[in-house]
Structures are given as structure tokens and as C-alpha cells.
Amino acid sequence: MSEKQTTTSAAFLATLKRDLLIAFKKKNDVVNPFMFFIIVVSLFPIGISPESDRLTEIAAGVIWISVLLASMLSMDNLYRADFEDGSLEQLLLSPHPLFFLVLAKNISHWLVSGLPVVLVSPLLAYMLALPEEAYLTLVLSLLLGTPIMSLVGSIAVALTVGLGSRGLILAVITLPMSVPVLIFGTLAVQSTLNSQSPLGYLSLMLVMLSVSVSLAPLASAAALKISVN
């Protein structure tokens, strides 16, 4: 009975591994947002126009907004199962800083729901007739933007995790907060299309990402404590 207390990094890794394992076992939670993203994007040409000129114009915005919606939908299962089965209480009672444990959950969530969307985006960009030179910018902007969405959305999910029927409240809270990410993400792609350098926007998004990595988990942790109370 004299086991050593784990280091914070071990607890961080254990949480990351556990969440990835759960995602791997509950494939629906991973596949559905991904499918949702592809289907929503495919609806736009049907609703707006099949002409490639018009599609080129809206491609970046359509992909970005679909990513926002998909990431918001997938956020729902970030803490809910843990809240219902009591694992969240165990997480809160860990002697390790909650910041890192929440960060581990956010990272795992992004790996299974954000990253696949980013990886498939060039294919959808092709279908929306986005010129090839903008692919790299699109992927980079999504690569920086989707984790920001996960981190910020995590706060709203943590605040609403105790609600029996959440309905659309998560969307009402999170979507307005995604405006800055949407603006810089689409502007980056737009500027590549106008043969300007997107580096300015991308570095701004990098700044936003580092600020959210360092602050958002703190807010999520506080929100979880409030919800579990």
C-alpha cells in the first residue's frame, strides 16, 4: 500500500489514451460529425448553383461554416458520458491540475473529430471548384482554427453538461464566439486567391490558438466545477 503518486504527465497521458480508446469504441460519435460535414458541404452546390465560378467564390466560406457546425455537433459528447457515469467527478477529484486533464480531453476530442475534417477538406475544396493554389492555405487555416473551436466550445459544453435537454442552447452560446476564427480563416483563403500572402492571417490565428490553449482549459475546468456542484 505504498504506491507512488502519478506525475501530472502520466495522468495527462492516461486521460488522453482513455478518451481515444472510448472514441475508437464508439465509432458513431466520430463518424457522424464527419459525415455531417461532408453532407452539408454537398448541399450547397444544390441549393446555390452548380456553376464552378460561383462555387469558387463561396467555397472557403461554405467549408468553414460547415466545419463550425460539425465541430459544434461533435462537442456535445465531450463531457456528457463522463458526467452521466460519474467519471467527471473522478476527474475533478484528481490531485493533478485540472487544466492539463481538461486539455488532454480537448486534444483527444480534436484528434478524433477535428483532424479528420481537416484532412478531407482538400477533397471537398476540389468539389467546390476552389483553385488548387488555395488548398494549402485552407488546410493550414483549418488546422489552426478547428482546435480553437474545440477549446472555446469546450467551455460552453462544460457549462451546459448538467442540463437534461440542451436542445440548441450549445449552438446559441458557441456560434457567435466563432466569428473571429471564421473571419480570419476565410480571409486567409481569400487572400491566397487574390495572390497575396496569407501568412499575416495565419499567424494571427496562431496567436489566437496559443491564447486559447493557455486560457480556455482554465475556463473549462472552472465551468466543469460549476456544473458538477
Partner: protein
Amino acid sequence: MSSVASNNSLDANSEGIMLSARQLFCERDDRVLFQNLDFDLAEGQVLQVQGSNGSGKTTLLRILCGLNDSYAGSIRWYGQEIEEQAAAFFASLLYIGHRVGVSKVLSPIENLRWSCSLKQAVNEDQIMSALKEVGLRGFEESPCYTLSAGQQQRVSLARLLISPAKLWVLDEPFTTLDTKGVAQLESILQDQAKAGGSVMVTTHHQLTIPQLSLLSLG
């Protein structure tokens, strides 16, 4: 409003007092659950919290664990306020609530790997022998949604066997257990008390443990 009746005579000095609560007051939805609540939990003591439904047993346990902070009063861990040494307190605390903290998607062994590693380093042998001891041999790898409620409770009880925590806070741990499980849990609690650890437990079950004291609410 509340009283502490003990089978054991407690020492009057604070030597060996692990957890002490003074003047606890809690109000929920304009209703006072308890007020002026004082009690001490000594090393080697098992404290059973009694009270009718809705008397605030669960709330009291959650307050003591730091999960609920809507109370007034002071809670000390070896003489110091728990807020001031949260990490040390959490490291020596093991809480099992109504919701036992067992993920239904994962197998017992995967569940234990995670929940134990939040506190202390464990190896596979410890987990396997603990699972065997609580009677889950053969179920180590099956997802928990295939297990019965009692078996899921047993997964959480396996954590007790692995845990070196000095303080166990258990909310209704007997509810879904069969008679054999009840007897086993009682002996586990007794072992914890013998080893100098303490237990706070709510249950409507009649415990037969020599180190038992009672705390009645409302």
C-alpha cells in the same frame, strides 16, 4: 439538529483526527439541509451517515470531497482548511458516488487503468488481482455495458482494493450488491480501518463493524 453517537470513545485531543468539520451549514432551494453540524473523523474510524431521504447525506459527502462548495463553515484536513491544500487532500481521498465512475464503453480493466492512474501509479497485476478479488474474473475484458449494475459497482469497489487513499468517502456503496458482496465490502471497510485509514459512508444497511460510529442528519 444532529448528533454524534459513537460506539467507540473518541479521544478528546485532536491527535489522529483526520477530518474535522465545524459549524457546517448548507441550504438548498431555500431549505436548510443542516446547520451547526460538527464532527470529527479519526484515523481508523468508520463513520456512517444516517438520515431519511432528502436529509442531505449525499450533499454532505460531496461537500466534504470538495465537489460542492455551496456551504458555510470549516472543513479541516489534519488541522488545515481543505481549500488550502487541495492537491494533498485529493491525493489521499477516494470518492465513489451514486454514479460510480465506470465508463460503460470501456472494460473493467481499462476503467481501472484510468481511474487509478489519476491518483497513483498502478501495474496490471494489481488491477487483475483486485478484479479477481471482487469476483469479476472472466469479465476483465468485456465492455461494462454487458455487466449488471452490481458488477459495475464491483468494478468501482476494486478501486478500494488498489487505492492507498487514507480517506474513503462512499455514497450508498451497498445498494446493488448481493449478500456476498455486502459481506465482502464490510470486510474491506474493516481492513481499511485496521490499517489506520478512515471511511465515511452513507447506507441504510446495518453495518457490523467494530470501528463504527454514527452521524445522524435531520
